[in-house]
Amino acid sequence: DAGVTQSPTHLIKTRGQHVTLRCSPISGHKSVSWYQQVLGQGPQFIFQYYEKEERGRGNFPDRFSARQFPNYSSELNVNALLLGDSALYLCASSLGPGQGTYEQYFGPGTRLTVT
């Protein structure tokens, strides 16, 4: 079975630009979460989506938005990029809240560099 997939693997953008990151969860998983990981730190929660609805939001500005599609894949959008947005963006899939387990399965991440 395929694990969580993310695209692109690497991305270089200029300040002020917009970026879209994509994630496909494990088959059968209905929940997708997004995390930002800065070098030397643990992942920081950005969003969780379950059944196409936002279920949780971390402490990130409105420049960050996301959505989940009927096939449970997800996009993370970041507008007006800042140098500080440079990080590894991780997508994690899980069965969903209340499904008896809180294990999250992470993708390989998208390395975003803002210059």
Partner: protein
């Protein structure tokens, strides 16, 4: 304020010894605590979950303890191997409704042959 703290300094041990990593937290009441392994340039990989009413959990060479009074979890790797070298992250499930995870900063373990 709410904090999760792991040893920021790398842990260096000799092959065959037991590695013990610490996770302390304040001002959280997590229902679950998880440990993940992360290799450079890769996403975290789930290792173990322990519930608030469990004192200890084992999986092969791994053992996790959870003391909700001390607000601390210990993660042990027995008979460590060089392949165990990685960064280990603890994470709290702070919302059973969303499954939202709050991660510590991770501790890097280096096992020398």
């Amino acid at each position: 304020s709410q904090k999760i703290e792991q040893n920021s300094e790398a842990l260096n041990i000799q092959e065959g010894k037991t590695a013990t990593l610490t996770c302390n937290y304040t001002n959280y009441s997590p229902a679950y605590l998880q440990w993940y392994r992360q290799d450079p340039g890769r996403g975290p990989v789930f290792l173990l979950l322990i519930r608030e009413n469990e004192k200890e959990k084992r999986k092969e060479r791994l053992k996790v303890t959870f003391d909700t009074t001390l607000k601390q979890s210990l993660f042990h790797i027995t008979a460590s191997q060089p392949a165990d070298s990685a960064t280990y992250l603890c994470a709290l499930v702070v919302s059973s409704n969303t499954g939202k995870l709050i991660f510590g900063q991770g501790t890097t373990l280096q096992v020398k042959p």
